[in-house]
């Protein structure tokens, strides 16, 4: 247990917040204050209007992550924070690749390339072509190495978005949060929730 607690690995931190100016900074400085690098950060509106969802990826020990999540949750405009290992989530990153159409048409079997890498063409012009893939880091990296010899012009990768495997009832809880003054079922003591699979808010 202790070892597991101190072993560093990637953690996916999910944060539900109000949509408020300055909140990104308030959350970011919780990491920077402790000199912890954010590997990936995505923030976008959730399925519930006015509630935003952050996906933050850091490489740290569970003990550090646990304390960080409590510090984040302590912020007034943060509704709820969870953390998960990569095994507990399904995650994707989106990548875009811009390459010269001439080179690609001439030297690469486009069809094979697309098929093997699960990529698709989003823009096809005379001068350049833009491919898109989604996947894990290794997968998007793989296509870079394939396209690099063929004059990759530009590359961009999105932050990670992750969906949690054990999140039954999540959406309805979120809606409840929006609708209700929190009642007994909404305020949860995390110490009691260890055994529960379903999220509680």
């Amino acid at each position: 247990m202790e070892n597991q607690d101190n072993e560093k690995q990637e953690y996916n931190i999910t944060v539900y917040t109000e949509n408020q100016i300055g909140l990104l900074n308030r959350i970011a400085i919780i990491f920077t204050r402790r000199k912890i690098n954010i590997d990936s950060l995505n923030t976008s509106p959730s399925e519930v209007e006015s509630i935003h969802r952050f996906n933050i990826v850091i490489t740290e020990s569970e003990e550090v992550v646990r304390k960080l999540t409590r510090q984040i949750e302590k912020q007034v405009e943060v509704l709820k924070v969870y953390y998960h290992t990569n095994e507990d989530v399904i995650w994707q990153e989106l990548a875009l690749y811009k390459v010269s159409t001439d080179v690609i048409a001439e030297r690469v079997s486009v069809e094979r390339l697309l098929r093997e890498n699960g990529a698709r063409v989003v823009v096809l012009r005379k001068d350049y072509t833009v491919f898109e893939t989604t996947g894990h880091r290794e997968e998007t990296d793989n296509l870079i190495s394939i396209l690099q010899p063929f004059g990759l012009i530009e590359f961009v990768r999105s932050a990670r978005v992750a969906i949690i495997k054990d999140s039954e009832g999540f959406n309805s809880k979120l809606r409840e949060f929006e609708r209700l003054e929190p009642g007994e079922d909404v305020i949860e003591n995390e110490y009691l929730n260890k055994g529960q699979k379903v999220f509680t808010m």
Binding site: T17, E18, I21, G22, N25, R26, I29, R33, R66, K67, R70, Q71, E73, K74, V76, E77, V78, L79, F177, E178, E181, P182, E184, I187, N189, E190, Y191, L192
Partner: protein, 584 residues
């Protein structure tokens, strides 16, 4: 839910239920109305260009809001802190944009770490000038984000009532803390239809306190009842939660020895038989050593600061830990708890009291008494009844206790005098020890004492300050002069930055690097501010000088020359376990 409307005319209209009456007011007026509904009576502030509309409105509110003009914004915010600490209310501070706002930062950091409820209002340049490097423009929101519980920039007057309501609610609920509201000048001027002020009692993303789980109370009680050597550590949470009575009842029923953190001092009287003393680096001998001998540690409203725990991996490893706190981020942060009791101790303590057995723990108490005996013999006796020619800080505090009989509010600065004052002051009442605990802000005491007096107008307020710290904020003598504030000031002058000197003596082979500090003639300085004063260097003059100070109508400055190179003991050296505490 309280609603207050501005004029008589409007409130008459309010009798008609059909629609909410409105009246056109400026953002500045809406702000001041908000303060009145929130029960604010005193504001500490300093005007400037970007907050002028608020000060202009304040001109008409002179009879309702007492504004104290400080001499520096840092003084203003420390005064707000002192006010909050003695009154239990939210301290309110005004400052202008730019330098006015940045001068608040030390006080915000201090209030944040010591959980002091404040609402600070800063002026800001016109909204259209934001980000243009306008005159006295600074990014106050981002500068203050790490040192506030919440902050918000208002650029439209219509937001003011709601934002202020949130500010007060956030500042004082849950674990209290400082809130800063930055208001652009256009919003201060802007007129809008004002429909009254409604206090805030709920923010959907904010859970100031949880619903207490009886299961954990049960487990905690079982652990406590089975303990042979239980030990209570209490902190400021007991005071912030106004749970002094509940705490006393718990301690008295369980019969468990209880020790306090610096900020917890006074929650039960110093001479309460179950109060075994102070924790931490310069705390008492028994409480430190026996932390590593107890079997159940019950931490109540405290956060296991490193100055309390010493070396963490050798801290109470043998003990099971019950931790009562309102802030879940504190539970398991430094010390792993066996049973976490997350909640407001005003609720959790009575629940726990109901389940714990009535006990006396006589043998266990005898251990504390034995350590106290040793500490008295080796440390306290020398400090309180010295045989040296020069006076000690401790004997000044002892004399002060005898005269004030433990009824005074003691405000201290930071350093040796602070530790001596906390160790030896007699506190009969709660909210009597005002000091900068977490941040250790030198210069805190003089302005905090000003605020402390406004927060506890019927009590004697004594500021005890070192010669170094006094010189950091001594301009606030001007505030005392102008507003006629009755603050008694004792400067314990050892002609050194004593605490740093002590460390240099003990750990840096007496290499006294820049700790030798010269002081002005403090009595003459006070006299320049028309504050009477006296300096003494002989103990035979001490009682009469203290009496003269306390009997003087209004403020008085007493400078006491004390031993130059005295050390505060006991001491847990940095990096050592609490049980390695040194008596010399």
């Amino acid at each position: 839910m309280e609603t207050q409307t501005i004029t008589q005319e409007v409130s008459e209209k309010a009798a008609e239920p059909a629609k909410t009456p409105t009246t056109e007011v400026s953002g500045s007026v809406a702000l001041l109305e908000a303060l009145i509904v929130e029960g604010v009576d005193t504001i500490f502030g300093y005007p400037g260009g970007a907050i002028m509309p608020i000060y202009d409105a304040l001109y008409d509110y002179n009879d309702k809001l007492n504004h104290i003009l400080v001499r520096h914004e840092q003084g203003g915010i420390h005064a707000g802190q002192g006010y909050a600490r003695t009154s239990g209310k939210v301290g309110v501070v005004f400052a202008t944009s730019g330098p006015g706002a940045t001068n608040l930062v030390t006080g915000l950091a201090d209030a944040q770490i010591d959980s002091t409820p404040l609402v600070c209002i800063t002026g800001q340049v016109f909204a259209h000038l934001l980000g243009t490097d306008a005159f006295q423009e600074t990014d106050v929101i981002n500068i203050t984000t790490p040192v506030t519980k919440w902050n918000y920039q208002v650029t439209d007057a219509t937001e003011i009532p709601e934002v202020l309501a949130k500010a007060f609610y956030i500042a004082k609920s849950g674990r209290p803390g400082p809130v800063l509201i930055d208001i652009t000048k256009n919003a201060q001027i802007q007129k809008f239809d004002y429909a009254g002020y409604t206090k805030c009692d709920h923010i959907r993303s904010y859970r100031p306190k949880p619903i207490v789980r009886p299961q954990y109370i049960q487990e905690a009680a079982e652990l406590i009842n089975s303990a042979k050597k239980p030990f209570i550590l209490w902190g400021q949470g007991v005071i912030l939660g106004s749970a002094e009575q509940e705490f006393k009842a718990f301690v008295e029923k369980s019969g468990i020895p209880a020790a306090w953190t610096v900020l917890g001092a006074g929650a039960i009287p110093t001479d309460h038989p179950l109060n075994v003393g102070m924790l931490g680096m310069h705390g008492n001998y028994g409480p430190n050593v026996l932390t590593n001998e107890c079997d159940v540690l019950i931490a109540i409203g405290m956060r296991f600061d490193d100055r309390v725990t010493g070396r963490l991996d050798k801290y109470a490893k043998q003990a099971k830990v019950v931790h009562l706190d309102i802030d879940p981020a504190e539970i398991d942060k430094n010390v792993k708890s066996t049973v976490p009791v997350w909640g407001d101790c005003k609720e959790t303590l009575p629940m726990l009291s109901a389940l714990v057995d009535k006990k006396e723990h006589t043998e266990w108490h005898a251990k504390f008494k034995e350590y106290t005996r040793q500490e008295v013999e080796q440390v306290i006796e020398k400090e309180l009844n010295p045989t040296t020619v020069e006076m000690t800080m401790g004997e000044v505090i002892k004399q002060l206790n005898e005269i004030t009989k433990g009824e005074a509010v003691i405000v201290t600065d930071v350093g040796q005098h602070q530790m001596v004052a906390c160790r030896y002051s007699q506190f009969n009442n709660t909210r009597s020890n005002v000091t900068s605990g977490g941040l250790g802000t030198m210069g805190f005491a003089l302005p905090a004492a000003i605020g402390a007096k406004f927060g506890a107008q019927n009590r004697t307020v004594v500021a005890i300050i070192g010669d170094g710290g006094f010189q950091m904020t001594c301009q606030e003598l001007g505030t005392i002069m102008q507003s006629g504030i009755d603050v008694k000031i004792i400067i314990l002058n050892n002609r050194f930055l004593g605490m740093v000197r002590q460390w240099q003596e003990l750990f840096n082979a007496r290499r006294y690097s820049f700790v030798d500090i010269e002081s002005p003639d403090f009595v003459a300085l006070a006299a320049a501010y028309r504050i009477p004063g006296k300096v003494i260097d002989n103990r035979k003059d001490l009682p009469s000088a203290l009496n003269e100070m306390l009997n003087n109508k209004g403020s008085f400055l007493l400078e006491v020359m004390v031993t130059k190179e005295n050390n505060v003991f006991p001491m847990v050296p940095q990096g050592c376990s609490v049980s390695e505490i040194r008596l010399k």
